[in-house]
Amino acid sequence: MKYVDEFRDGDLARGLARSLATSARDDREYRFMEFCGGHTHAISRYGLEDLLPPNIRMIHGPGCPVCVLPVGRIDAAIALARDPKVTLCTYADLMRVPASGGMSLIKAKAAGADIRMVYSTLDAIRIAEAEPSREVVFFAIGFETTTPPTALAIRLAAQKKLSNFSVFCNHVLTPAAMRAILAGEGEGVEIDGFVGPSHVSAVIGVRPYQFAAQQFNKPIVIAGFEPLDVMQSILMLVRQLNEGRCEVENQYGRAVTHEGNLKAQAEVADIFELRDSFEWRGLGEVPASALRLRAAYADYDAERRFGVTTPSAKDNPACECGAILRGAKRPHDCKLFGTVCTPETPMGSCMVSSEGACAAQWTYRRFDTQRVAS
């Protein structure tokens, strides 16, 4: 597999592990948050923690769009889907996310709601074209990575004059979440640096993360998702700290440029605008952290079209997803982890998404209680 196998070479990994062992100073600890669920997944799947010296600890961050979506937004989507004239199109990851009252999209579908799993925004457009008598709502979710395809769908719907297509927009912004985490540091969260989002940076570039280095003195390495990318990025962070540097470095140069994808940025800026505030599961209300459709595209905004309200909804009080998403606690610290909360019976969002910290810990590393609980 060209361009993949090169980044999964066991010999290179062992070489990087040796470099990490010699670079990491014995007299200090290194606490790095991998922001993205994709990194969490790679670390767990390839057992990378086994290759790290014991004084380098990885903290799983909030970088999974499924995990950070608050219950109220899922409730709102279910309410939309129960409208007999609505067909709700959603990415499959969302189907099992627990909503209020033991409900989820998959249960609502089984109860008769017209909910369809799609693999791209264009699938939703095709359904709207094929079924003009239905109100097709695309449940848009994700960080900056998935926002351009949603923008493209709205652009296409406008060009095609599709009157039965709209978007329930839940796109959120990573720099704002990182800022919220750093602003809350000290509340059980201690971070020495970030393994930074890479696919997000392929869109928005490197610049939006400079505040973390400049204002909060936290080094960031924008890291690819392959296991060698992650290892190398951790080594780059260790070296920055050892040398007293604090910069935004780009390990993922094969995909990320300093400026990012300007065309995608322009398209997103044309169609979306910032919300004043948006609730994140685990982080609470975060100012300027999410997008909504501009007034010019109001016809395609499901929230306006259907008068969507986001009911206030609480997570299970024993669920520690909030603290886990902030990096304040680890999966094993939660009483529900592995008892009533497993991937088959998820109580919290971190267990639902395959990229959630709890799901990754349970699926790949649940034998590893000692290290995690240490």
Binding site: Y46, L48, R365
Partner: protein
């Protein structure tokens, strides 16, 4: 018009009458094809009996009577609801034969007979039904396992997805052989007969909304020939065999770990995965260990017999890429653990829910 005589219930020829030929090229299944009347008789005769022809079906009874060998028998039943019905390297018809044959074969038994039940959705093209039946007949003849009885039902449009097939198989277990999922012991060696994930990726490549160009063919195949060679090579040292179908290698190993109360340690680098399959899984965010197979088996064998078993597997066309991928270990938690190509360890877990592509 076909002027062949029809028979009434007692079987005697009553009259010559006009019979409209089944329009296999353009016709569709309608509710009359499942109503028990002439239309149903014609559908069964022209499509199923033609494609699956054998002495038992020709008798036209509601059951078939057959000779049973002495000793223990194995029996299985399996429902096939694959979508799409036709995929690179196979279709639901051949799959329904291979699935039942393999489930019998995994006990070490020689598969003898199959039955087949069809649930067909109103409106289903007769040409597709004929194609499925012919594929089933070809697979059955190639395997040497006849379909000797069956059933046909037609349901209203929207109540099925084209066609569902259920097959049941029976087979004869060789004397002295007692394979079972609870027989793995710590130290036993784990083998796989070839590359994993081929079938699942081939099917996904043609699934609506997910179509992608792919050279991978389904590995759907009847494995009883390979099994016979394995039994000859390893005999009583063979603990168990299983075909890792739905849920893939991961689910199968977890099932056996539970049944046998052992753990498994497997080596990622030793597990054969075709580069195209690995690439497709990478693109879709899937793990080849969870992807379905239809022509592969895993075997657990006492360590002293492992080299001979591997040699026998590699000598058979369906086992030429066989590999030793790990071993059973003592583990009261019954974990399946894998050493990654990096040297790190991780659990290989059951799939939670359905395997679906990730958002990003």
């Amino acid at each position: 018009m076909d002027l062949s005589p029809l028979r009434h219930a007692e079987g005697c020829v009553v009259t010559k009458t006009y019979r409209r030929k089944l329009d296999i090229g353009n016709g569709r299944v309608d509710l009359s094809h499942g109503a028990g009347g002439r239309a149903m008789a014609q559908l069964i005769a022209d499509i199923f009996h033609t494609a699956l022809d054998n002495d038992w079906l020709r008798q036209g009874n509601d059951q078939s009577v057959f000779e049973a060998p002495k000793g223990r028998m194995a029996m299985t039943t399996d429902a096939f609801v694959v979508s799409p019905l036709f995929f690179p390297g196979g279709d639901i018809g051949s799959l329904a034969v291979h699935g039942a044959v393999n489930d019998i074969a995994m006990s070490g038994a020689k598969p003898l007979y199959l039955s087949a039940s069809f649930i067909i959705e109103e409106g289903f093209p007769l040409s597709d039904l004929a194609r499925i039946a012919e594929s089933m007949g070809a697979a059955s003849r190639a395997a040497g396992v006849p379909v000797i009885t069956g059933d046909t039902k037609v349901v209203e449009r929207g109540k099925a997805d084209g066609v569902f097939i259920t097959t049941t198989g029976v087979g004869a277990v060789p004397e002295g052989l007692d394979l079972s999922g609870d027989k793995a012991r710590p130290g036993d060696v784990l083998l796989v007969s070839g590359s994993i994930g081929d079938h699942g990726v081939a099917v996904m490549s043609k699934r609506e909304n997910l179509e992608f160009d792919c050279e991978i063919l389904s590995d759907s195949a009847a494995l009883h020939g390979l099994v016979a060679d394995m039994v000859a090579a390893a005999g009583a040292a063979l603990r168990l065999m299983r075909d890792p179908t739905r849920g893939g290698l991961a689910a199968t190993l977890n099932e056996i770990a539970q049944q046998s109360r052992v753990g498994f340690r497997i080596e990622e680098a030793a597990i054969p995965v075709k580069p195209e399959v690995a690439a497709a899984c990478e693109l879709l965010g899937l793990d080849p260990l969870n992807v379905a197979n239809e022509g592969k088996l895993i075997a657990v064998v006492a360590p002293e017999a492992a080299p001979a078993l591997l040699e026998a597997m590699r000598a058979h066309p369906l086992g030429r890429d066989a590999a030793i991928i790990g071993a059973a270990v003592e583990d009261e938690r019954r974990f399946v653990q894998m050493t990654s190509s990096f040297g790190g360890a991780r659990i290989v877990d059951w799939l939670a829910g359905e395997q679906l592509p990730r958002i990003c």
